[in-house]
């Protein structure tokens, strides 16, 4: 019996029991579509995180202070130490020591109130240097950023994030206005263009930027300690080299072995990996549940195929009497089960694609369905049909034609 004839016979058998075939496929349909959708939701969430992190700036390294241990042995959390200094930043900026660093921007971040006339707004005050704009890949909406000279002088100038500007100055451009931080008058010289929310959830658009000396003066911070040093590598390929150079330099400057590092050096990739770890756990959990429903669907296929074999004992006997070999019978039932799996899988994929198109509008979550995941799901559906068809098919193949013909 040719394969074409086998497939035709199987398709006829599936069609002959339409309702039953549809109900059997339903399990596969639900399983496949939920697997594709959960994996798609997880992938969508990951893509979103990656977009946000890459929006931080390209080829970015961020160096943060490590944890501190006080005199009583109590360890503070990540970033609690004040181990990074402006001197560290200056050392990294030395192109002889760190040749793969294109630009360095130390930042000192504090939460503070900014007053404009009658309006009072709490925001993140970031003291930094002129290279911050390039390092963080931001642009200005209006005005200008502060210059290296203003940074050196500790000039009383401030650049506002678009949200901060909107909160402080109801209408018109704030450029040229004066705002007060802790009683110090600062001139607004520019407004940043919007960037969107950051991975940590704090807005990158609600900030006030001043030269680092100015920020330290107005907030009365420990002189010269910084909260994060951003380093931009010369290119994506030199990012790893830059990472190692910065790591070695800081360990050397602080006189520490790498196990005792009092700072944390992170690339965008490592930030993405950390952010994705949580996402992945959740995705695996959901996909696991969906996979179980797929398994249940497969068992449904086996159940129906067993019923079908029992019901069609006479047909099997007749086909054998007419010359069907056990192999031909096994093949017919296997193809029938695979067909149930495959058609169920195809319908499941269609439903998943419709769902992927509709879900973002309904629940506000991006769904990213990859061709690979879809192909894998289809392959799984087919494999389920074959896998769960093997036992019923071999039962059919083992029936002796006499017993099969005798049964009423």
């Amino acid at each position: 019996m040719s394969w074409l004839d086998t497939v035709r016979a199987a398709a006829e058998a599936v069609r002959a029991h339409r309702l039953r075939s549809v109900l059997t496929m339903l399990g596969i349909v639900i399983g496949i579509s939920s697997v594709i959708l959960t994996v798609g939701l997880g992938q969508g969430a990951q893509d979103e995180v990656e977009d946000q992190i890459s929006a931080l700036g390209s080829n970015l390294l961020s160096v943060s202070p490590g944890s501190s241990t006080d005199a009583s042995g109590m360890r503070g959390g990540f970033g609690s130490a004040s181990t990074l200094t402006l001197a560290d930043a200056a050392a990294i900026a030395d192109t002889d020591v760190v040749p793969d660093a294109a630009a360095v921007a130390p930042t000192s971040t504090t939460s503070t109130s900014v007053v404009a006339g009658e309006t009072n707004w709490t925001t993140s005050l970031i003291g930094t240097t002129a290279s911050w704009l390039d390092v963080r890949a931001r642009t200005l909406d209006s005005g200008r950023f502060f210059t290296a000279a203003e940074v050196a002088d500790g000039a009383d100038v401030v650049v506002l994030g678009p949200d901060t500007a909107g909160e402080l100055v109801a209408r018109g451009s704030p450029v040229g206005e004066t705002v007060r931080i802790d009683g110090n008058a600062l001139t607004v010289i520019g407004v940043l263009a919007p960037s969107g929310a950051s991975a940590s959830g704090t807005s990158e658009d609600d900030v006030a930027l001043t030269p680092i000396g100015t920020a330290m003066r107005v907030t009365g911070q420990t002189p010269s300690s910084v909260s994060t040093i951003y380093v931009e590598a010369t290119s994506g390929t030199t990012l790893t080299a830059a990472y190692q150079e910065v790591e070695a330099l800081l360990l050397n400057l602080h006189g520490l072995a790498s196990a005792d590092a009092d700072f944390t050096n992170a690339t965008q990739d490592s930030l993405v990996a950390t952010a994705n770890a949580t996402n992945e756990t959740l995705t695996i959990l959901l996909a696991g549940i969906a996979a179980i429903s797929l398994l249940v669907g497969g068992i449904g296929v086996m159940n129906i195929m067993l019923v079908s074999v029992t019901e069609r004992v006479r047909e099997i006997g007749l086909r054998k009497a007419l010359g069907a070999t056990p192999t031909a019978i096994r093949r017919q039932f296997l193809v029938e089960a695979s067909l149930l799996g495959l058609v169920g899988g195809l319908v499941g994929v269609v439903i998943a694609l419709v769902g992927a198109a509709a879900l973002p509008a309904l629940i506000g979550q991006p769904v990213s369905v990859s061709a690979l995941a879809t192909a894998a799901a289809l392959g799984t559906a087919l494999a389920l049909g074959i896998g769960f068809g093997v036992y019923p098919a071999s039962r059919a193949a083992r029936l002796t034609p006499i017993d099969a013909l005798r049964s009423e």
């Binding site: 086909r319 009497a321 010359g323 069907a324 056990p326 006499i402 013909l405």
Partner: protein, 231 residues
């Protein structure tokens, strides 16, 4: 004449956990090409077992069976399937047609398993249906045909592979007298055209149509009559 069927000391024993039952106890018999043989006997006599062995649906426990010169007594299941497909046309009491397929698709089934190409299958199925007088019923499903017509479809299916042997197991058992006459008339015609037919029945008037009668009783052939010898 050449021998189509040669049975030598055929025994068939059925074993279950506690019981051993000898359905055939040494059957010797030769059937020549072109013969029309009726196997008669009461139920439980072993005639169904003999029919299963003749039809290559089962292997004998002992003895040799040559079908058209080929020893089939120890063949594997797949080998027997191939012999059935090539050598034997079955006609059953319950017709055994597939209800979901039109007449011609039922008739082409043996050719599907023989690996005959699709276009040739339809041609040969239509010719076989024409042979049994159902040229105008090729697209009807079994449910739309009378019992006699269904049995004629089954005969067309048995003929379509041009088998060496036509094996009919109580072919008129489920038919009214008119359809019975109809089907038996068709078998007579096929015999006249040179077909070898073995008919299994317990009805003596059906058996009377055959040229030779084998009477089987308690697993043995107790009488072998030629039509002329009894009357």
């Amino acid at each position: 004449m050449s021998a189509i069927i040669e049975l030598e000391s055929i025994r068939k024993t059925y074993r279950s956990a506690a019981v051993e039952f000898e359905a055939l106890r040494g059957v010797d018999c030769t059937i020549q090409a072109g013969e029309y043989v009726a196997v008669v006997g009461p139920s439980g006599s072993g005639k169904s077992t003999l029919m299963h062995l003749l039809g290559c649906l089962d292997n004998p426990s002992e003895g040799r069976y040559h079908l058209a010169g080929e020893d089939v007594s120890t063949m594997s299941e797949a080998g027997l399937a191939e012999v059935r497909n090539r050598r034997i046309g079955f006609v059953f009491q319950q017709f055994h047609l597939l209800a979901s397929l039109p007449a011609w698709r039922n008739v082409e089934l043996p050719l599907v398993y023989a690996g005959v190409p699709r276009s040739e299958r339809r041609e040969r199925a239509l010719a076989a249906l024409d042979r049994v007088g159902l040229a105008d019923r090729v697209d009807n499903r079994p449910g739309e045909l009378s019992g006699g017509q269904q049995q004629r479809v089954a005969i067309a299916r048995a003929l379509v592979t041009e088998p060496s042997l036509l094996l009919a197991d109580e072919p008129t058992g489920n038919l009214d007298s008119r359809s019975t006459a109809d089907v038996l008339g068709l078998l007579d015609e096929l015999h006249a055209a040179g077909r070898t037919i073995v008919l299994i029945t317990h009805e003596h008037d059906v058996a009377a149509r055959a040229g030779r009668r084998l009477v089987i009783h308690d697993g043995e052939i107790v009488a072998d009559h030629l039509a002329g010898a009894i009357a």
